[in-house]
């Protein structure tokens, strides 16, 4: 494959945790920490090539694989303006034929990121949502309509995003009956973390691809708490029973060619153990870029 066919990636920081109304605040510090680690990995590229131990191959990724676009400006106490800027950044990258990777920030960013994708790309947009939680709350006094608990709900209100093109992965434990009812009513599927752990990466990916095969474009939303707190203690909450970092990396790698955008959210340096989670997030982002540099079309024949 020649260089000109390779996709390039934009790394955007979104240092916003103003909607972390349930989880621990602190994800505002993630972009700086992740960026530091990501730069360090980035330099392994020499002459547009990199050696991958998982594939035992020297792969061509181009010289411009992952470009740091800096932080998106947060508007003080104004979630809507902040979200608008996030959507613009995402849409801008896509219109420039590049793939945006947004480092949050809390998981309320799920919505403005997918909205940016929705603005820049035509057709049906599917969401692959890795998370310990459903993020399906409609609205509440304590959290409003745009919080970290409502990202998926808001996204499903966009024109060309429907539950049938989305899937949630790694959700676990208990929730309100009303959230369950919403899922049943809208046909929104999930694969629980337990199911993922039982069936493995291959079977899970097959299920994911099957679910989203009607989508024209895919967005990968990765809340770090999809991964177990043992591997990712620097998160917005500690939900035991998650997947390993190894599987998180493999999921991201194998989904990357099919995705037009990615966000990594809820990485929380204030809760981290020696930056272990920021380092993991940097690997997730960089892996997404390397593996996603050779795009593949979403659809039934993957």
């Amino acid at each position: 494959m020649s260089d000109q066919n390779l996709r390039g990636f934009d790394l955007w920081g979104a240092p916003f945790d103003g909607e972390a109304s349930l989880g621990w605040p602190g994800s505002r510090y993630a972009p700086a920490k992740v960026r530091e680690a990501a730069r360090w990995i980035n330099m392994r590229i020499q002459d547009g090539r990199i050696f991958r131990l998982e594939t035992n191959q020297i792969e061509t990724v181009g010289d411009n694989l992952l470009v740091d676009r800096g932080d998106i400006q947060v508007a003080h106490a104004d979630t809507e303006t902040t979200f608008n800027r996030v959507s613009e950044a995402v849409a801008g990258s896509i219109r420039n034929k590049r793939v945006p990777i947004v480092i949050g920030g809390d998981d309320s960013l799920l919505f403005p990121v997918v909205r940016g994708v929705h603005e820049a790309l035509p057709g049906r947009i599917g969401i692959i949502h890795f998370d310990a939680h459903l993020d399906l709350m409609d609205e509440s006094d304590a959290q409003g309509r745009l919080s970290q608990s409502s990202g998926m709900r808001r996204s499903l209100e966009l024109d060309r995003i429907q539950a049938a093109d989305c899937i949630q992965v790694c959700e676990r434990h208990f929730n309100f009956p009303s959230s369950g009812q919403f899922k049943f009513d809208h046909g929104l599927a999930h694969i629980s973390a337990r199911q993922v752990l039982k069936q493995g990466v291959d079977a899970t990916l097959e299920q994911v691809f099957k679910q989203v095969e009607g989508a024209d474009h895919l967005y990968l939303s990765f809340d770090i708490d999809a991964i177990d707190p043992a591997f990712a203690p620097g998160a917005g909450a500690h939900e035991p029973g998650g997947i390993t970092s190894a599987w998180g990396l493999e999921f991201v790698e194998r989904l990357a060619p099919y995705c037009s955008a990615m966000a990594i959210t809820e990485v929380n340096p204030l809760m981290d153990v020696k930056d272990m989670t920021s380092t993991l997030a940097a690997y997730l982002a960089f892996t997404f870029a390397v593996a996603g540099s050779k795009a593949a079309a979403p659809g039934p024949r993957r």
Copy 2:
């Protein structure tokens, strides 16, 4: 199933670590920390129903599923009196047709909890003992007869508790030859953590059910160090090679319907990483209650 057939659960704190003579002290602080997290999960119940992501079902659990009974009073420097109170609390709950869940405290509590079960219930009592250690020491100068190292030994001295109805799960590494000899002599079986990790949850449960099929009632004793320190750093000791939190939760869930009581011991907030282990313990307790609300009889035909 109608509500009146559902079992209710009593949450008892036993803030006693006076017999933590080998491991780190500090489990005295576990009840307060676990209770805090457990309350928060508890509120997910609405109108006696809860949505479980693992089953993808809205389940009926009743409105009175898990009642906090507060802390059992520790008698100063008097293990026997303390143990008597623990046994009474446990027996009292059972006599009230409720299922006690005791949050230790150190693992010496294994004995008074099972003694309470033994007092309140007739027939053969079996123990399913998750732990990294055997707890089979008879007596020593440094630890006496009632320490965290002797709980299983003391329990086997009760009238209707015999090794043939018990099984130890997740024990690992090395021990004194004399402890091994005791196991051989009494026919006390264990499934090492390595074996559990190799064969998985299903095969392990089959082995467990087979072993305890002669018991009329079962008690589940869960020392948090059955789980690997990566997932449960807030423990009485760090024994590498344990199971994941995901499996710990699944074991508890699937054993719950068959068990008449449970204790979670050795959760140590002084050693914890951001309350990760207290949160896990709360999930273990709550999962036991939700899954155990529909009782199943122990015995060979499970």
Copy 3:
């Protein structure tokens, strides 16, 4: 098997992190911490016997299984002299018919340890190299020729050590194309952490034994970062996607009978969580000794 056929082990501390030019310094404190834990496990031996929960057997290991030889003297700012002393210590143990276990220190020690083996034993020496990294850098301004990044490279320059008799296990993520090219040119194989996680311990060991079957003697080099930072946070770097501590222990146990020396490197108490990693390292060392007390010859018919 009679006692006189059992191998004895020497525990050497090498408190040297002067070549930790890329990773975090602090492994100089590992010998003291690991020794403390190892002594405690060591006392489980009674009358030359120990009970192992993984085998459910009381095993004869002799009364002299693991002897603490103290710390090797580090020469100030003089890596070569330090390395000479390490090689001498290792060679000395082997000449005394004992098996050296070296607790580093940083992973530059890979080289002087294998050089000691090479000096004391004839024939082809194979290296089984557990590590997240390749350690194949030739030389750089910032790190010189003897750093923690060059251990494997230097080792392959010894007369009777050839890539065909070596294998790297658990390496992962990205590297410079030039390092990949070196591997291709010399036929140095690795099994990535992901591959290990997919295929399991048995298949991996088969692959390892196959690779090193031409070696007359084997050296096991274990950089603690082969294990995931969730299980071994006290390391020189945090590389997500590693193996569990359970598997680390099993690998060491099953390789031990075939190995003439072992080093455990990059355990870093300054980065550790409550000495979790030092405890793991002590178990790795002690497990190597117990399991390795009954030697087996390396070669194709294992």
Copy 4:
């Protein structure tokens, strides 16, 4: 002095850190932590009396000294509504003839607390402002008008609050020339931490009382970073050169009789060392209540 002449105190939590736009977030967790410690101290009162080691006297404080009024409800993403509720709570306590102690929350709360005082009490209101920072920013894109950097500025815009009746204590280090100019223009005085450390508690208090002698009522605003991070690591920022906890306690004790309200802000449990700072904050609050139970009129003849 008879009991009926003693003042009673209301403890309000204000778990709001939505305006912590410059400092670390996390003060939302302070009320719960401080409350826990404060309750424990509170129980030392027996029969309306308490023994104070500093005075070596058994003092009468009444049976109703410090009443926990719970947390003020935070309005999601709506600082103004939140502030209104804070002002109402404060004004309500004062109208009930009680003295409010507000546990923040971030230091933006300075403004709504003093506004509550201003609403409930007539005449000139003076502010004694302990803080490492000036909080005099007018407005900025990044922080808006109501942030933790603007509390003093906003307060000075209230009708009956003028710089001449206020004093800032423990401010230190560097600031923008424009902030200095504002102070010069409005005659807002401060005593730097260095000056406090040099001249001691007595001379500082004399200076404070002199400055505020024209005020009819006084409000004590205590940002925990007035105290050095060595003593109060759980803060919104680490500004070296602060006062000791001992002096903090003495200042509060001696100012208490003259003050009609107090707030303690920027206690941040996420940054704390073993809850050291929450414990200190509880002592500050309780000391304020005990010492302030016997009111003294503010004015020139103190």
Copy 5:
């Protein structure tokens, strides 16, 4: 002064925290940690001499200044036997013409240590008691009669120990009225931490010497929480407003020549920040030995 006139010191560990019923447990680990640091300082002695920077002198201390006598055996769950052994160790050292320094353990040890002094020495025994707390509780259900809260109370029941020969230093904050009444009734004096901080080391020592001038022998009991948690975070509780480590060291140094025994209690490695407090305790012990090697008689003319 010739060597034979110099006093020698015995360092005893008392790893007992079984009466830490109110404070955090963990002081059982202090002897090991303090010993490690103390050994390191001890080696500064060359040819019986040491250089002190505070005096700018090379001082003769003899070659046998501080001898590690190991740990006193704790009797499991048997405070009285443990206390008997502590008293014996202390009395034994004194009878051997050496000065015992006991490293606790919790502060219940105050009593058995002074009892050992009382057994070995004739006449009136005075106690200089540095502590944040009074330790005057008579008895309670939750704590019994021998807990860390009763040490001073029990000591005052010994024949030749009377309140008039004792003084408490650094106590602070609030207490039960009944404890105050006990002090008034028995004439037990204290100098609060605030008073110490105000008047300085010289004035405080003068007050101390004045109070204890009728004693024939003095015992120095040093609960580490006399020092502020900023300097000694590894304690049994965090009581703000304590003295600095510098003053703690100076008090110990200047009292040493007059004292026949010392205990340092409540050093808690589980709560410490990087062993900061264990290091301080080692300096307190070693300073006591160096400064106390030249004895001075207690009495009015000091």
Copy 6:
């Protein structure tokens, strides 16, 4: 004073801890951490002016006050080359009429920094050496001649540096008699931390100025452990009894006008509590620059 008379400062990082043979390694990470904080303070300058709360004045410092010159390249395992580069950097700044501020790195850097001053400036060079330790070791097997324990010793071997022009401040506790003897023999004076704490900043500075009045140029060497570990936990060792951060800042501020260079060493982010010490170091550096921008000639009439 017009701008052109103001001195400018160069901030150099020296990320070298290869001679931290006794203290904890990790000061290699200090320059990055300190730089981050220093930049943030630096931006408070507007139009060449800054407001200082300690002086309550808007001061002119110029627009080019503190220029980050980046990190000095460390030569792998080659202390001499590294030192040469440090000396060159320092000398270069001075020759450019700027004042170098070096952020270590370990305290072995004392020597190459003063050597750079010595190379660039004529006449007698005096050293004001803030440190808990003497750094007077000549040479040892374990540490060589250039370690963090020998910096002052090596410096005194330079032509125009004599003990009579130097003074050590804040040294404390015990040392080898031989080190004391060296001080006596060479007339090297110190003011112990205790003496500093007793006499205060003014008297200490008077003593310092008196001692160094014969020097033509002064170098300020500031090992962070001069400050107590309560205020500066991120150090190379924890020596209780140090000065406060407030006094550290004041000493630096008042010495700055007379000094031609400064180094801050042994700041250790690996040991720090939430970057508290790096923040302090940044304030020390920035304070040195602001206060030193108006130079004063060293000599007797200060």
